[in-house]
């Protein structure tokens, strides 16, 4: 390459970021071609955490797959559970009791708050604001994880949902605890916003970085906060409503500037909407059964099914083919972060090296789900 203006001969250099790099959120490698500090090309390399999840899914029975879905996106195991369980329910046409639906919504919305708080904390970590926002996020997450542990027995690998309901009813003492956590959440989000939203350093690092135009976002099948920050009003809870989301009053948060900062704003907005859903669910939750009785050897009928939900990171779908036996013939996971990640080279071109970590943080990947 010849620099015309100076007449100096320069070359691009190739830098490996990762797989052991603190900003890559796990084992993920980016082969970055640089011209000085500017990125000419970027190639994501995935697969370091591949563990044959889909093949294991074919070996396991339908029930045995639930603990494996916990380990896809280990930050939001409850929503992974829900997506898989709802796919199987659609296949076997199982009716879910009213109370179980409400419990599921409560758990999934709590998961969304946990995920967005951690995503923002990790983004700020990547930007160099070491651990202050992250620890404030973790403090709130800790209280929510306590609720998960109380209900399901485990903090992160919840394994709580079952076909036709949930594993157990809510324990005594859960509801008052949940109410006090939900009541404290708006104050936490306000404080988070006071800390970050108008901060000039955050603005300087995030605004006009990693701009993803709406048509490109749609062309790359991006979903979740990434797509909504590009101004596309697309939320599966609204456009293809599942479970009982049509009973709740909430808005889809969209922003129009398509950059890293707007993805942050969308996440903050979604946390507020989740609190709204939680408040309504707390008022409406009925008494009653939480699961239906299924035969010990569960065999859904022959057929195939695809079910998708709006997981905190985007569209999470499960495609199952059943041959009428005890285990799926094919078990395919459409994971949101894997598909969102394919747009990374486009976002990074023309930016500086330091912006790559900000853009990657704003996509909010979890490698357990990317590589499966």
């Amino acid at each position: 390459m010849q620099r015309v203006e100076t007449g100096l001969r320069t070359e691009t250099i190739t830098v490996n970021m990762g797989p052991q790099h603190p900003s890559t959120h796990g084992v993920f490698r980016m082969i970055v071609t640089l011209d000085g500090e500017t990125i000419v090309d970027l190639e994501p390399v995935m697969g370091y955490l591949h563990r044959c999840q889909e093949k294991i899914g074919e070996r396991n029975t339908y029930l045995q797959n639930i603990p494996y879905t916990d380990r896809l996106d280990y930050i939001c195991s409850m929503s992974n559970n829900m997506a898989y369980v709802m796919a199987v329910e659609k296949l076997a046409q199982i009716e879910v009791p009213e109370r179980a639906e409400y419990i599921r919504i409560i758990m999934v919305e709590l998961t969304r708050i946990v995920n967005h708080a951690v995503a923002i904390g990790a983004l700020l970590n990547d930007l160099g604001c070491f651990f202050t926002p992250m620890l404030y996020a973790l403090e709130e997450r800790e209280r929510i994880l306590d609720l998960f542990e109380m209900a399901s027995g485990s903090r992160m690998m919840c394994n709580y949902m079952r076909f036709g309901g949930v594993r157990y009813d809510l324990p005594p003492g859960f509801m008052p605890e949940l109410k006090s956590v939900v009541a404290a959440l708006p104050a936490f989000i306000d404080e988070f916003e006071r800390l970050l939203t108008e901060n000039e350093i955050v603005l300087a690092r995030c605004q006009n970085v990693g701009v993803l135009p709406p048509d490109m976002a749609i062309a790359y099948s991006c979903t979740g906060p990434l797509l909504r920050a590009s101004g596309v009003n697309y939320d599966i809870r609204k456009v293809d409503s599942y479970s009982i989301y049509d009973r709740f009053d909430f808005d889809v948060v969209t922003e129009t500037n398509c950059d890293v900062y707007d993805r942050y704003l969308v996440r903050i907005g979604e946390m507020r909407q989740s609190v709204r859903i939680l408040e309504q669910a707390l008022e409406q939750i009925p008494e009653g059964e939480v699961s239906v009785k299924l035969p010990r050897v569960f065999k859904p009928p022959e057929g195939d099914v695809y079910h998708r939900i709006e997981s905190p990171k985007g569209e999470l779908g499960f495609y199952l083919v059943s041959d009428g036996g005890t285990n799926p013939y094919r078990y395919k996971i459409r994971s949101p972060t894997f598909i969102n990640l394919t747009v990374l080279p486009e976002l990074c071109k023309g930016h500086k090296v330091a912006d790559v970590v900000a853009i990657l943080g704003s996509i909010d990947i979890v490698l357990g789900e990317v590589d499966r």
Binding site: Q64, G153, Y168, S180, E200
Partner: protein, 180 residues
């Protein structure tokens, strides 16, 4: 004004800093004592809520999925397990191995050997869920690291599982069943 946002943010961190010491002062004699714990973990409480781990421990919730235990029937003193192997078949990773004894004991089947391989256990709880005799449950035990992986360390046999059953459910009723 440039820098106002940063100052606003710094006021939040300062507030947290002060609150931590104020809430320490409020519970003055008990900073690290177990009495302070319930209050410190309460959602409305501000400040840091670090648990001083080796000195004070969290009490686990009744549903907590820790190590496994085998229950004994308190009346007869015979293990409730019949060695049917449903738990072994329900396990997604196959960490349980059961052999049923050829002779009955006290009119019921009993296991001859029962091994649980902690090393590759998922702690998913499907074995406990599937047990039709209510013999297998979780303990609140979570400090399970060992220095080796042979039998008696990471591989648990029936005697060790029964001993835990005696410790956590001497009356044959585990904590999770007493919840209500």
């Amino acid at each position: 004004m440039l820098g106002l946002g940063i100052l606003k943010g710094l006021s939040v961190t300062l507030q947290h800093f002060v609150e931590t010491y104020l809430s320490d002062l409020k519970r003055f004699p008990h900073r690290y004592a177990p009495q302070g714990r319930a209050k410190r973990l309460h959602p409305t409480e501000r400040g840091i809520f670090t648990l001083q781990y080796p000195e004070e421990r969290l009490e686990m919730f009744p549903r907590f999925r820790g190590a496994l235990m085998q229950l004994t029937n308190p009346e007869t003193g015979i293990p409730k397990c019949t060695g049917c192997g449903i738990c072994a078949r329900s396990c997604p990773v196959g960490v349980i191995e059961v052999v049923r004894a050829s002779e009955k004991k006290g009119g019921k089947f009993v296991p001859e050997s029962y091994t649980w391989n902690l090393a590759s256990c998922l702690f998913c709880g499907l074995c406990v869920e599937s047990c039709p005799f209510g013999a297998l449950y979780h303990t609140p035990e979570y400090e399970l690291s060992t220095y080796g992986r042979q039998k008696g360390e990471l591989i648990y046999d029936l005697d060790r599982l029964l001993a835990w059953g005696q410790k956590y459910a001497p009356d044959g009723v585990p904590p999770v069943e007493k919840e209500k």
